[in-house]
Each structure stands twice: as C-alpha cells, then as structure tokens.
C-alpha cells in the first residue's frame, strides 16, 4: 500500500525546466509586444493616409473627366477642317514611314483580332474603359491621317 502511494506521488511530481537569463527573456517578450502595439497604433495612421490618398485619387479622376469634357468642348468650338501642319520634308518622310509601319502593324493586329472575334460569343455592351479605348483609337487614327 505504502509502495503504491509512493509510486503515485512520484508520478504527480511536477517537472521543471530551467530558463536561462529569464530577465532578458521577459524583457524581450515585453519589448516585442510593446513594439507590436506601437506598430498597430501606427497602422491607424497608415489607414488614414491611405484613405486620404484614395480621396485625392477620386478627385483626380473627376478633374481628368472634366478636362476630357472641356477638350471635347474645345473641339466642338473649333472649326472642322482638314488643316495639316506643314512639316519639313525629312520629318514628313520619317513620319510617313512610321505611319506605314504602324498601319501594317495595325492591320496585323486587326486580322488577329478578327480571328479571335470570330471565335467569340455575341458582343456585350461596351464598358467605360472600352469606350475610352475606342475614342483613343479614333483620335490616334485621325492623328495618323494628319501626318
């Protein structure tokens, strides 16, 4: 009986592991949590900066849209003419070559696009980005014609 009790007591005995330099460890843990809390508080500031930036980006988007509208208005106010800037001979030749190359490239792209479009399902309504791209393409082609 006494033997059994002694064995049970032996089993219940806790086992301790010594930690070297406990003060330094405690200091490290506390400093780490302090640092992390510090960075969490800084994150709030960071969020504020990000929000501010998002606001400015939205404003910039509005301003850009307004500029686009005004440029269109300007286009309407100016007479429609096929006026071409007079260029020096060399510059004109260079531009012609560049335009021809661009045209060839565009033709290739168009052919590739047509191939893809043939395989595509019926068209969906254009997104704003696509409209802008189309407008950009039209302007570019007009500029090429001017050259």
């Amino acid at each position: 009986m006494a033997k059994k009790r002694k064995a049970a007591k032996k089993e219940e005995e806790p086992f301790f592991v010594g930690i070297p330099d406990p003060v330094e460890i405690r200091r490290s843990v506390l400093e780490s949590s302090k640092d992390l809390l510090h960075y969490l508080s800084r994150f709030e500031k960071f969020k504020h900066v990000r929000n501010e930036k998002a606001e400015y980006i939205a404003k910039l988007k509005d301003v850009t849209a307004e500029i686009t509208k005004m440029v269109n208005k300007l286009k309407m106010a100016l007479p429609k003419t096929k006026l071409r800037a007079k260029l020096h001979g060399r510059e004109r030749r260079l531009r012609t070559i560049a335009a021809a190359e661009e045209k060839a490239e565009k033709r290739k792209e168009k052919q590739a696009r047509l191939k893809i479009e043939k395989a595509k399902p019926p068209r969906r309504p254009m997104t704003d980005l696509e409209k802008l791209e189309a407008e950009l393409g039209a302007i570019e082609s007009r500029l090429t014609k001017m050259e």
Partner: protein, 77 residues
Amino acid sequence: MDKEGMPVFVRIEDYKDVLDIMHMIKNKIAEAKELLGKINELKNEEDAELELWHSGIEEVERKLDFVDRSLFEPTMY
C-alpha cells in the same frame, strides 16, 4: 496658296469661347498637377511607413528568435 496652307478663321464669339475653355483647361491641369503632387507625397509617406514596419517586424523577429533559442536551450540543474 495650296490647300494645306489655307488660313482658317474662327468666329469672334467662338474664339472667345475657345479662349475661355483653354483658360479653364489650364486651371484644371494645374489642379490635376497639384493633386498628383499630393498623391505622390502620400505615397512616399506610405512607403516610408511600410519600410519602418519592415524593420520593426525584423526587430521583433530577432527578439523572439532570442526567446525561442533560450527556451529550447534549458539550463541543466
């Protein structure tokens, strides 16, 4: 004079409109530039903050490494 060199005229009322629009566009472009400057400033602030976080996290990692090493090298009594 060839066709390309032909002068183009704009009605005086339209011309005034054009000048007004140009003025407005210039103002808007200045505004856009200012906004871009602010955005850039904020972006730099963000980058600096991220850099600080990076070094801070490394520092915490270093400290926890020390704790980890200490805990896995218990003292023998």
